[in-house]
Amino acid sequence: MNSKRNDRIATGVIYLLVGIVILLLVGIIGNILVSGVPHLSWHFLTSASSSFEAGGGIRDQLFNSLYLLLLTLIISMPIALGAAIYLAEYAADNWLTQLIRTTIEILSSLPSIVVGLFGYLLFVVQFGLGFSIIAGALALTFFNLPTLTSNIEEAIKGVPQTQREAGWALGLSNWKTIRGIVLPAALPGIITGVILSAGRVFGEAAALIYTAGQSGSTVDYSNWNMFSATSFLNIMRPAETLAVHIWKVNTEGIIPDVNVVSAGTSALLVIVVIIFNLGARALGNWLYKRLTAAKIK
């Protein structure tokens, strides 16, 4: 009866370990939400942050985070998509491909503070972009590209080989097969991959401290001229994001309600990331059904 007993012990240990993970997760997220959500208010979300008085909001930080995310995705999506298509469909199994894969792996495990410092040296100093949204977006692109590329590559590889054969057998060229059959079939997976990596980008702080900067400039949300210094769309202005804001108020903030602001901001950050994750799943499923099923005319 030894194996029976061992099996029970093993099962028990596994349950215990899973329990610890869940407990930790629920504890952390629960703590953040419980301490932060009460401070979330319309006023908090829609007013500018204050430098030394209590009662400031995070309007600019929230917008900056979303804007940076958008720019990052605009820059990294085409590159990642191209690289992923190459790796999944064209790359021969040789030393060069191995080298590319290894490089991507190393890049994805690069500490984000290193990416930030690299971005500072290259974009901020060398290219003379200064602390700016575009410098931040470029640094985040570096941070995001490896994960995004592997996510998309996995999605493309997930399309069964029989689908490609079906395309070839109908006289479609390799590229037409990829574009018309493989990519649409992989689209739900690609979207999921993009949104999941977006969650990572959205919460990133270290890569931005030295690139997008820690100071918010005065922003005018009615100024739609991208090239005007006060426009909210200006990509050359410094911009503090939610995650950087949390870091800043806790290290050098002199506002009296530091705890309130950082708790509220943290909760908002977590909520947005959760929405991204759930949204990714929902959108992926919806798209899959949509693409595989009827087209209503």
């Binding site: 079906a166 057998a169 006289g171 037409k176 099923a293 087209k295």
Partner: protein
Amino acid sequence: MENWQTKKTYIKKFSEEDCAVYTQNLSVFYGGTIQKLFDVSLGFKKNTITALIGASGSGKSTFLRSLNRMNDQVARVDGKIMFHDLDVNQKKINVYELRKAIGMVFQKPNPFPKSIRENIVYALKANGQQDKQKLDQIVEESLRAAALWDEVKDKLDKSALALSGGQQQRLCIARAIALKPEILLLDEPASALDPVSTAKLEDTLKQLRKKYTMVMVTHNMQQASRISEYTAFFHLGHALEYDTTTNIFTNPQGEITERYIQGSFG
């Protein structure tokens, strides 16, 4: 197994005019040196169904997939594949055009995750056919030819993945014949289907014989005897025997053929 016996072959010959396609000394190499197919010379008579039988690894699928150059990426194919007096096993041949003339249906039904209609018109549209009326007409013709029209005519815009396995396979046939090929290559088309679906599929294939030349790999010897006129027996990469299906099953010439037919191996 008894490799030396592969030297002795019994291959029926047709005149070149009678054949929709024929091969001359077709050999296939994987990884540069590993030979999977040895000098196979077979002709396939127009408007017939020819079954390719043999044990797993005998090279029958490799042979079939060479005919429309599906092995291009994975293997080297030597020898000639004569189609309309042209050797189509040459580098300069446009394989995309070739594959429209020599269609293929696979072992596992592989409809695209699109609507039934889109499955059929996708390749046509990619080839520049945009006339909506013409496309609708081709959809109906192809589905009728594949004996699927009555079952799906009310749900052409529903997902092809919602169809049963047998319906999906007939959709794949419809998709292939929508391109108006001359030859249909079938790679164990019924092996993933239940008996009822298989019977329907076989009926469909019998109907299609009037318009197309079909070459079918099958593991199912009853199936070969039910629907094919000619049968080729493959063994260890060699085509050992090729004759009318009746002869192969009732009066095989080779010893290995006989043993395979009797079910001693395979």
